[in-house]
């Protein structure tokens, strides 16, 4: 149905493994974002994208890779997962850059790295 979805919703992996988190939106929003949420830190921006094939780093990009070949998809890859990447990951989309307008959030992916 319409909206923004994330998959998987829960993931357990081991240190050193590659993990890809998927994000899909049906609004054709130009801008998409990846955040991580850790206790005591609120949400921190990992990467964002202004359009297909245009991505840029956020506040905490190290250890993550993104791509955006299609407007509706914005996957986030942990190339070699570390325990410090255990977190809840949220994808968001917006019609405008950054926080100039409302961002719409997906339900999140809870990732545990053992």
């Amino acid at each position: 149905d319409a909206g923004i979805t994330q998959s998987p919703r829960y993931k357990i992996t081991e240190t050193g493994r590659q993990v890809t988190l998927m994000c899909h939106q049906t609004w054709s929003h130009s801008y998409m974002f990846w955040y991580r949420q850790d206790l005591g830190h609120g949400l921190r921006l990992i990467y964002y994208s202004a359009a297909a094939d245009i991505t840029d780093k956020g506040e905490v990009p190290d250890g993550y890779v993104v791509s955006r070949s299609k407007t509706e998809n914005f996957p986030l890859t942990l190339e070699s997962a570390t325990r410090s990447q255990t977190s809840v990951y949220f994808c968001a989309s917006s019609e405008s850059p950054g926080g100039l307008e409302t961002q719409y959030f997906g339900p999140g992916t809870r990732l545990l790295v053992l």
């Binding site: 609120g42 921190r44 921006l45 956020g58 506040e59 968001a92 850059p97 959030f105 339900p107």
Partner: protein, 111 residues
């Protein structure tokens, strides 16, 4: 780094009471937004207030912004058990368009 800081970190009230949460920030902003997060869910946008606005309303929500004090408050009137959630403020500065979130206020409304 965090831009907005919410106060208090946790708030517990009875149904029907008003709840006030505050957000302070450090640098000049383009706008400030409030989001709600129910347990285990994503964030839901509540209100966006721009730097040239002082107050906005949406249903039982009232947001104020005082740019001279670099602070904002979110008031929820006549609270309900369904308002139980975490509330986050997010600030957007003029030179960076990305949003910076605070750590949130955890609101519990007891029936």
């Amino acid at each position: 780094s965090q831009q907005g800081e919410e106060d208090p970190q946790a708030l517990s009230i009875q149904e029907g009471e008003n709840a006030t949460m505050n957000c302070s920030y450090k640098t000049s902003i383009n706008n400030l937004q409030w989001y709600r997060q129910n347990s285990g869910r994503g964030l839901v946008h509540l209100i966006l207030i721009r730097s040239n606005e002082r107050e906005k309303h949406s249903g039982r929500l009232r947001v104020t912004l005082d740019t001279s004090k670099k602070s904002s408050s979110l008031l929820i009137t006549a609270s309900r058990a369904a308002d139980t959630a975490s509330y986050f403020c997010a600030t957007v500065t003029y030179n960076n368009n990305d949003m910076r979130f605070g750590a949130g206020t955890r609101l519990t409304v007891k029936p």
